[in-house]
Structure formats: C-alpha cells, structure tokens
Symmetry: D2
Subunit: 360 residues, 4 copies
C-alpha cells in the first residue's frame, strides 16, 4: 500500500506553472550562464519587492548549500569565522561545506531555534584572544529557522543593529523564507530583510521550483566579482534560463512564492489544530509548515501504515515527537485523511479503556 509523505517539502516536482513556462520557452534561444532575458526579468520582479533603496545584485544558484557556500566564502578573508546556532543548517546538514572553504564555524545554543544578540555578544567576548583565535565576522541566521520558528522584525532589527555596530556581516539563509514570510508570526517584508542584512537568499526549491535559490546581495560592497564565486564553486549553470524562468513564475502575477508558502503553512496549521483537537499536544508551536505533535508510540506505528514522516525525538517512555512537513503540493484531502485516522486512533485509545463496552 502506498503511503502519503509528510517527510519534507521537496517530495514532488514543480508547480505546474513552472513546467508550463519551461515548455513554452523551450526553443527560444538564449544567452548562457545567467545572461538570459528570463533571469533579467526575474531579477527585476524580485527587485520590485526589495524597496526603492535596494542597490545590490541578485544571482541564481541551484540549491541551498551552494547558496551558503558562495555567499559566505565570497565575503570572508581566510581568518574570519562564522557565528551560527548549533542547529544551523550549515553546522549540521551540509557535510562541512563551509569549513571546506576554509572558515571556522563558532556555534552557540539556539533559543527557540534562533540566534540572539546576547549569543552574538557572548561569542565576541569569548573569541577575542587575537590572533590566536579566528575572528568572528559573519552572522548566519536562518528564517524560518531549522526548528520552524520565525524571526520577528524587532528581533531582526536588534541583530542587524548589533552586527553594524560591531562590524559584522549579517547573512540570512532563506531556504524557508517563503514559509517565514507567509507565517502568522511574521511581521517583516522582503524589503525589511533587504534593508537589515548584508546578503540573503530566497529559497525556490521548497516553494515549488525544481531547483533554484536567488541570492540577494544587499550590501553593494559585497557585490563586486560575485559571479566569479558562483563559477568557481561549481554553481553556474550553462542553461541559467532554468533558474530565471522559475523565479519569473514565483514572482509573477500569481505571486506563487507567497501563495505556495501560504498553502503549505495553512495545511500545517490545519494539521496542528486537528491533532490538538483530538487531545494530543504539540512539542512546539506551529509557525510555518512544520508540525511537531507528541503522540503515543502505538498511534505513531498505526499512522505509519498510511503516512510517512520523520520520528523526531523520544518524549517519555511511550510517546515520541514526530515531524510533519507540508508543502505547496500537499493535497488537503491527505491532511483530512491524516486527521481522520488520528481521530480514529484517539477514539480507539480512549475506547481501549473500555474494551468490554465496545464489544457489546
């Protein structure tokens, strides 16, 4: 029997408009390596969201690790280090990609998945025995975070202010930026982010692109020679049109970047509310497209017959936390099916206390 997957937000292909656009444009000859007209147009569309003061550059790469490698290594000198939370994607999910470019990661515990000004200050004061210690220089944050939480605008402003005061570069990993901006917890715009960070990237893969992330270099001083780094790290596609066309669609009239994220978040919210209504708690608030219910292991086992998801952590002797991820492609009927099944299992569990009654 086939299971429906809530494993992640990249189990399907692409939003159908993207496939249509690829098909329609297929035989139009274009310049290579990102010099195509589609990429130029996508850049104009994104810039229109970044505020009139934006004076930087936008580049496209295929995936998030590449975006992080290029963005970070392009602006650091060899002795400069990165400040990140322990759970940061570059710390635990990129196979040492940043260190492979020569830079140390200095990590601190996350607070609700986030980096705080206090943590940054702590890193600066405990990493000041120069030149015997690498010099903390770049602040890495993810929004939404790896825990599914969202930075508020005041939080972003506080980190940005500290970074500017202390001469630090602020970089935001936007693999899940769509989910963050579409979150009910969010009060920041793309223009806010562009005004507060030195560089960031807008994740396309998780909101319906086949591949593709847009790196936005906000600080003009960091934009010089940026394309060299993409080329040197192996991130430049001959058919750059593939990235440009997709970002044209994501930032087109249908506003797919936001709408796809909004759908994913809505599906997660529906899952969360339903699970809670059936008497189960969540391990963390559902701010984006990730839901972390705490369920009896027996319920989890039964759910596994029809759905796939990640087992996240133990929660006592007979319960565990699972992670459900929704996406632009999540079929609401599957959400309903999941909730129906959990209702059934919840009732059975209650009924389990009265087996005699039930057999009557």
């Amino acid at each position: 029997m086939t299971t429906f997957s809530f494993l992640d937000d990249y189990s399907e292909g692409a939003h159908p408009d993207i496939l249509s656009a690829l098909t329609e444009s297929n035989y139009v000859q274009q310049a290579a390596y990102g010099e195509d007209t589609y990429s130029a147009d996508a850049t104009n569309r994104i810039k229109a969201r970044l505020g009139s003061t934006f004076n930087g550059a936008i580049h496209y790469v295929a995936n998030g690790t590449m975006a992080n490698i290029v963005a970070i290594s392009s602006c650091l000198r060899p002795h400069e280090a990165v400040i990140a939370v322990n759970s940061g994607h570059i710390v635990v999910r990129e196979a040492g990609a940043i260190e492979a470019t020569g830079h140390k990661l200095i990590t601190v515990p996350a607070v609700d998945g986030k980096l705080t000004p206090e943590s940054i200050e702590a890193v600066l004061s405990s990493n000041a025995h120069f030149p015997h210690m690498a010099k903390p220089r770049l602040v890495y944050i993810s929004n939404a975070t790896e825990a599914g939480t969202v930075y508020t605008l005041p939080e972003l402003r506080a980190i940005s202010a500290l970074a500017r005061q202390r001469g630090l570069i602020l970089f935001l990993d936007g693999a899940r930026l769509g989910a963050a901006l579409a979150s009910s917890k969010n009060d920041a715009t793309l223009a806010d982010i562009a005004s507060l960070v030195d560089l960031f990237w807008i994740g396309g893969t998780k909101v319906g692109a086949l591949v593709g992330e847009a790196i936005v270099v906000c600080n003009p001083a960091l934009a010089d020679d940026f394309a060299f780094h993409i080329k040197q790290r192996g991130g430049m596609l001959a058919k750059g049109r593939l990235l440009g066309i997709q970002f044209q669609e994501l930032f087109g009239v249908k506003n797919l970047f936001f709408e796809n994220a909004r759908h994913a978040n809505a599906m997660a919210a529906k899952l969360a509310a339903g699970i809670v209504s059936h008497g189960y708690a969540l391990d963390a608030e559902t701010a984006t497209n990730l839901v972390f219910p705490i369920l009896p292991d027996s319920v989890i086992a039964a759910l596994k017959e029809h759905f796939s998801f990640h087992l996240w952590a133990k929660a006592g002797s007979e319960c565990s936390v699972i992670r459900l991820a929704t996406s632009w492609a999540t079929d609401e009927r599957q959400v309903d099916a999941f909730l129906a099944r959990i209702a059934q299992l919840a009732n059975a569990a209650k009924g389990g206390l009265r087996p005699v009654d039930e057999s009557r």
Copy 2:
C-alpha cells in the same frame, strides 16, 4: 531582426521528451537527494551500457564544473596534482575551481587538442623533485576535447596503460562525450571508456538536458563515500529526481543521448561540407559538433546580420576563423539558410573580382 545562434550547444531548453517526463512524474512523491526511483532506474540504464564487468557507482550533479570539482577532489590527497593540457576546461574555463579545492594543475601544450602519453611522461620527469614539487597524480582528459577533436580507442588505451603503470588516476571530462561517441572519428564505446579510466562523466546538458551530468566512478576504490563530496561541494539537489528523470530519457528506448548527439554532429558535418563546397577552408577537421571555417572578414560581417557565432582567431590580415556550434536543437532549415547565405556571399565575392563580366 532576430539572429539564429550557432554560439554554443546550450542555447535552448531541453529535449521535449524530457519536459514531458518531468510533467508526467510531477506529483509522484519521491525520496530526496538522489534516493528517488527515477535516479535508480537511470543508473541501471547507464550501467547496461558499461559492460558486465562494471563494478562502480554512478552519481548525478547539475553541471560540468561541479562534476570536475567533485571527481577530482574526491580522490586526491592535498599534495597531489593534476596533469592537463593548457586548453583544458579546468585550466581556462572554471575560474580556478580545482585550485580552490587545493590542487595544483600541471599543464602541457595540447596536440590536436589532446593529451599524449609523451606529454604525461614529460610532466612526470620534470616534476620529480620531491617533496619540493607537488606529486602528479591524476590525468585529466576531455573527450570530445575543447578543440572538438576525439580520442581514438588506441589513444585512450595508451594513456590508460601508462596511467596504470605509473600509478596515476585517469579521469575523463565528458561534457561533450555524446558528441565524441557519435563522431565518425570515434571507435570507442561507453563500455570501453569505463574499462579504461578510473572515473568519468557523461554530459547531459549539451545533449538535451536542462541540467545534469552523470559521474561514473569505475574504480571501486574511489567510490567510497562519494556522496559526501557531492554534498560538501554543494552539488546535491534536494529534488534529485530532476536529474534522474532526465537521464532516464537520455538513456531510454529512443537512445536520445546518442541520437541527439548524432543530430548535432550531422548538422555540423553539413555546415562543414557546405562551407567547403563554397570554396572556404576549415581551420580544423570537423569531428563533432564544432565547425571552424576560415572566412573573409567581410563575409563574417555579413553573416553576423542573420547568425550569431564566436569569432575564434585571426587568420591573416583579412580573414578570421569563426566557431559554429550545433546541437540536438539545431534546426536544419537554419543550417540550410546559413549555407544559402554563404553561397550568396561567396558568389558576390567571386563576382567582386569580375564586376565587368557579371554586368554583362
């Protein structure tokens, strides 16, 4: 007025079968990061061409520079160097990507675009002052070469034999492997190549994929932990299905990998023959999908009104070499149009010598 481009072999999107396959499979949920069933099937299809003794592994990445970075850096220790021709893609077209992984390139002049056993021997003997010199360890060849030429099977065997005798790793950059295998000059099969080199890659981008190259690790000793390198260098796609689906099509029943390359080569051969028939010489024999005619600068200027191509080199005071590239997508009518135009210009030029006669 629009011009038709003979600039390169990646000006269009993808073969229509690839777009159809992407569309058909779009909502099938799949495991991420190359663990999808499409990639597994593509691997089986490729392995079926590699001979029964093949005992290695196949991995997919998005582009050629990434394929070179991963393949080379995965199998060298820090002090080991690469032997390549001066014109090698890694030498002059990848922005120092290999050096950025820490390895020296030792270069020698190409002979007809190729590396020879004699050149390799020369590198070994002039780079033996150890440990003061980096240790030559990996031989890099491209087939088809950057000059459009093709290694014959005896040439490949000679290099392979030398590499094995001297403890060198032999690596083949197959960005244009389709063009090579479909060349009239070719006498090698994929299975031959797999038996002679330690690792190579099969270029998809230039034969009709949107993105994608298949790295074939033939030497099992080099296959360990290979996926780590792809991940660490930023080459692993969340939606690995994008690569798997394309290689399924390229190596499917229609044999698109070979057929697309054959079409490109045929278009080049037609261009070459036509140009010669109109009285112009070629700077090099046309073995693959690159044609290098020597034309009067006035003819070139006139052609530029309707066609785009690269100006390659000066050839005397009033002539130049241009480069025409054909591809899987080259429309034969455009080839005909190009030849018609050149015929017209050739006649005008002849006429130019006898204006009085012509007016009669």
Copy 3:
C-alpha cells in the same frame, strides 16, 4: 621594577646544552631540508624510546600549530572531520588553522580537560546523518591537556580501543607531552603512546628547545608522502639541522626531555604545596607544570608587583583563580620568593582581622 614571569613555559630561550651544540656544529656542512645527519641521529634516539615494534616515521617541524596542521591534514579526506574537546588547542588557540585546511571540528565538553570514550561515542551517534553531515574520522587529544591534566594509561587504552573498533584515527598533540610523562599522575611511556595512537608529536619548545616538535607517525599507512605535507604547508626548514640538533640534545645522555619537564613539574609542585600550606586552595590538582591557586584579589594585586602570571577566572566576589606556569628554566629562588611573598600576604590578611592588635 622587573617582575619574574610565571606566564608560560616559553619565556626564555633554550637549554644551554642546545646552544652549545648549535655552536659546536655551526660550520659543519650538512644536507638541507631534514636530510642532515643530526636529524637522522635524533630520530634514532627517539625511536629507541618507542619500542621495538615501532615501524613508522619521525619528522620535525618548528611549532605546534604546524605539527597539528600537517598531522591532521595529511591523513584526512575532504569530508572527514575531527573530534575534539571544546578546550582543545586546535579549537580555540590556532585561529582556525584546521578549518583552513578544509576540515570540520566537532567539539564536545571536556571532562577534567580530557576527551572520553563516551564523548566520542556521543559524537559518532549524533553525527551519523550521512552524507549530510561530515564524517567523524580523527580523534584529537592533548596530553598533558590544556587544563594541565594527564591521561592515564587505562584512559589512553580505552580511547585507542574505541578508535580502532570504529575505524577512527587517533592523534595526540604532545605540546606538553614532557610535562605529562614527568607527572606523578602518569603511568604511560613513550612506547605505550606509540603503540596506542596513529600519530602524535613530541613538543620540544616547552621543554627547552628554541623551536621544534617531533611528529611521530606510528601507523605506517599514514607515513607515505608525509614530507610533502610538511613542505606544502610551509613547515620545512632549509636548515633542518636546527631541529635535529635540538632533539639530539633533548634525547641525549642527559635525558633533557624528561629532566627539563621534571624540573618544571617539581617547581609547580613546590608552588602548589607552598600555596596550600599558607591556607589557600587550588582550583585543580597540580599534575604537571601548571598551578591554579584561588587567591583573594588583594593578594593577587600585591603579587603582581613582583610576579607576572595569567588571571584565569573569577572565583566568587573577592577571589580569583590565577595560573602559574613553570618551566625547565624556572629559577627555584623565584619560586621561594613567590612563596615567601604569599606567606607574608597571608599573614597580613590574618592580621587584617586584628588591625587594632597590629597597631599596638
């Protein structure tokens, strides 16, 4: 007024026998780059201490960071990471030198300055999401540790057994190996260490050399091409004799390597005992040449008039921990003077409780 320094164990030049040996050999012409007869003889002398089964190689470099860079980068593939304690020298005192060679450091809290088998197991189990995480491959320990503690032979055996079982490379940073081996807490010999680790280094700088550390590659599989790494990282001296001559003296008839360390430890033990006898506690047991007394801030201020040392940590509102380092060159009269001064200050402090009496 001049102060006497207990800041570190490298405030003076070299043991006088070393200076004499340099002077006596000065005009003897020798081969360069470590091929001199002094280095060969030093190697033989060290090998004589490593046990009859030793089958590896010994190389000399100028300093500890270089020894760590060369040893670690010579034996890891790009995706392989290092396990170390948070307080490890490579983690916090080498300016990101290991990351600059491309490798991730995975850190865990130290237990009494040491790494434990449990910590290693914890790293392995929490860093197993492959290939998305770097692969833990090399275990880094320091003996004596950065906290001045010493690994016992059973502790070393347990780590070594685990490393071998799990396919990990075990590397020991011996910047303070002399202090460790001369410690009353030590029960291991150089031969024990050589039999348990894959590679380690014997620190010369801290036991009376001007510069110089001896890298001992115990595992023959790691010895291949080792000199290339020294050369490539900038660690090879033209006048390698400078290192050879010093290690000849350290491992000569006077056994200076052990005797110099023993003197340093004895001076530390005398300081520790004296300080305790005057009523002050130690923050940690004194196992080697580092003493960590807890003293009233007023006493510390008074001591600073005549002695220099590091302020280590606060210990309550009016006390602090200081660090006193002794060395091969520590003049016992200065130790006595320090203890006399502390006795005076301790008495004054007791008197401070009876100021009226004192004024009589």
Copy 4:
C-alpha cells in the same frame, strides 16, 4: 674523503654573532609570539632602511614558503590568481603551497629569469574571459631570481607602474634579496623596493640566520589583521625572540645582512673569474652568489671527488652546466682550492693532447 659543498647557501648554521646574541639573551624573560623587545627593535632597525614614508608593518616567520603562503593568501580573495614566471619558486619548489590555499597560478616564460611588463600584459589579455577565468590579481617576482639574476631599478619601476595602473598587487619574494642588493648589477635600495611593491620579504636564512624571514607589508591596506594569517598558517613561533634576535644582528651595526651577502657574491665572482680565466665559459653571467660554468663532463667528474654541487643541465654531448652556490660561510680557501683544482684539470686537458710532453 670529505667534500666541500657548493650545493646551496644554507649548508652551515648561523653567523657567529647570531649564536652569541642568542646565548647572551638566553635567560632574559620575554613576551611570546613576536611581542618580545628584540623583535620590536629588529623592526625599528629594518624600518630605518625603508625610507621615511614607510607606513606599513613588519612580521617574522621561519622560512620562505611560509612567507609566500602568508603574504599571498592574506591579500587575495578566493577567485583571484597569481601571475608568475614558470621558474618561480612558488611554481616549482613549494609543493603546490599556494594552490593549497586555493589560488591559481598563471605562469609565463621567464626572460633572463625575470617577469616583464609585456608578460604581465599578455596574462591580463589572455585571462579576461570573466567570470569563467580566475582573475589575475597579484604579481609575484623574486629578486634575486631563481636564475641568480637581478632586477634593475628601472625594471622594478616599470612593473610597479603597470601593477598600479591595472589594480594588481605587487609582491616580491626576497629569499635572495641580500644577494640581489649586494650585486654589482643592482641599483635599487631597500627603500626603493619598499616604495614600489605592496609587500615583500627579506630573506634571513640565506644570509646567515638559522631560520627567519622578515615580511614587510608596505601597503597599509594589506597590513590589517596580518598576524592572524601567520598564526592560522602555522607560522607563529612561541619564542618569536628567536627571529627578532637574528634580525637585530642582521640589521645591526655590522650590517651583516649586506656584508654576508657581499661576501657570498664576492666568492661567486672570484669563482666565475677564475673559471673563465682557465678557459671555460659560463652559461649565464654571475650577478649574485650563483655560478653556472659549462665544463667537460670529465672535469666535472674529477671535481666531484673534492667538491659537491648541482649538475644543472646538459650542454652538448660531452659538457654540462653545473651550479655553484656560495654563501656568507664560504671559506675563501675552498674557493681557491676549487680554482686550483680546475686549473690543474684544465692544464691536464690541454696536456691530454700532449701527454708525452708532459711526462718529460
């Protein structure tokens, strides 16, 4: 029988004044890591030679490869490349040390051992296909060159002017800078060099130091954070005094830096003149401490009985070029002995035509 070595300029230890200074200062306690008073004084002495407009910084490292690694990697971004001659020390004698820091070397043939403005222009024009090619950014020259030749002041000015005009960093490897400045072909001062290049280093090892080179960062913009790079690359000595004391002596009242080089050059000149006077030609003019005589192979074989030197190149069927290197330590009596032996051999060779006469 012992041979006298003309193999290189680092076969002996150190100038005796250096050993005396090390001995005299031995028990003076000093701050570590280059913060000692000796290094500060050495820096003042060197600055006194650099001209009143010098506004940079001076740092000390142990050897030349380290000086090159630190100087080059400290001032380049990842995509920037180095321009050097094929015979440059970093190209063929440092085991890929610069590439190991991630940077490409773009090489051109040397003219009389030197780089020329024309060669630099050629590199710039053939490496301009951006961003597909690494960006040429730093010009590396050696003075004296690896061929023993010396840049004239006009030559240095021309390269410097071009570098400034084209935004290139000019770096001078001064392993043999003493030999260059003491050459009869030289018309530049240390102050001239400091005013023309962005950074350079003054070699100590080849003019009588045990170890040690002084890196002079002339361009203040490149001086920021310089010590981090030394630390990170493993070039910082705990006992930095060892370097400071030696450069105090080299730049002290006896002017040993120049006098030692002058002696070496004088010994080479004497060898050259003597060899020529006995009827043998030189393969290159003797500008510094390297002599390249062309000798019959039979003469070479006979000389080898008493002297050691490098066989440099074949010169016809029965002759070869050898390289004789002199140094601060070369005993003039050995020069005389060499010339006496060559005279004897020359006469015998002439006599060889008249053996009967000679026996009379």
